[in-house]
Amino acid sequence: MRLEPAGASLTSDSANGAGDAEAWRRGELAEWHRRRLLERKLHDGAAMRASALVLRLGVLRELVPEGNAPLIEGIDDVQDELHAMLDELREVAAHIYPPLLEEAGLVPALRELVAQLDAPVRIVAGPHAETRFGAAEPAVYFGLVDGLAAAARSGKPIEIVLTPGVSAGRPELLVSLTGVGPEVGEALSDRVRALGGTVKISTVECGETTEVRVPCE
């Protein structure tokens, strides 16, 4: 009889643990959803309005009577300012949620990111360049953004291999990183664990490898 309450408390503990993990996961998913909506709002709202303004100014420019150079110049200046503003909006949008990640998926988004880093980073996806990895996509992308930028500064070649897998009947994404220090794995860890995934950093002959498994659901 005395064991019962203990047993009960054990069950409720692990239930709480599972509940916490589920809450953590849901919180993370809600965060990505919110970010996607924000990016979309920026695109359909402010950005759309600003590019429409550029076009309307182009129409007005045609209506300017010949010989009014100052007015033409003024319109050109305003258009240039709007171009700069749109560039800034794109930059903000990329920090919130890269549209390429949303529309084309993890592999194209990582390739674009790597191209901007100006470092010898190779993304290997084999036939899976267009495969979608669900919730694992933002977790891995945002987990890699900062760590990768720091690791790329060393100039050492980095390889990132992405492969789809299955664990307990559910789809998952496997990411294998070579040529990066443990800090990249650590940066990934929180986001990956939030979704119930794992990060394993091991030292092998040629340096360190980081193996990441993330559920896609």
């Binding site: 590019s51 309307r56 182009g58 045609e62 749109l86 191209a115």
Partner: protein
Amino acid sequence: MLLQAAGHEVVAVAAGGDELRELLATTPADVAVLDIRMPPEPDGGLTTAERLREVNPDMGLLFLSHYAESHYLMRILRIGTESIGYRLKEKVGSVEALSDTLARIEAGEIVIEPVLAKRLVDRPGAQRKDAVATLSERELDVLRLMAEGRSNGGIAAQLFVSAKAVEKHIASIFTKLDLHPDASVNHRRVLAVLRYLRSQRDED
């Protein structure tokens, strides 16, 4: 409005890709202007363009987008390599820019957003960096214009030099980058240049 100011006739306007295809089935047009992110989501502009090209291969296609991404450029060039364009919405904000873009598409050229062409030339795939670094400033100017899809004549006009001088630069670029010279067919040359610059990312 800007299209009309530039002297073009807008024959039909549709909210989404499916409506546009229906309209264009009965209304002939020289060029269809699409947004990559138009309905049906997520990239309805691309699927709509594929179908339009199948039904009417002679109609020009112009993609206007808020983003200029090499990923989409490659997908667009898979739809077709003639009479096709990809530009940032705000960069066709003058009658000159819009008319130049449309005229080039009508002439069968590929029109690529200069911002994107510049990015590809300035930040080529890691394996191509050393070769691109051997080009002179002038050759880089020419390469950027080639990556925009411009013809020899177009490059010469932009740089205020003779077509002969452009030919010489192009020959030198092709030798330095070890590309097959096929300057006679413009769209093939554009593809060769773009594939070359992006190579590292597409090889996997």
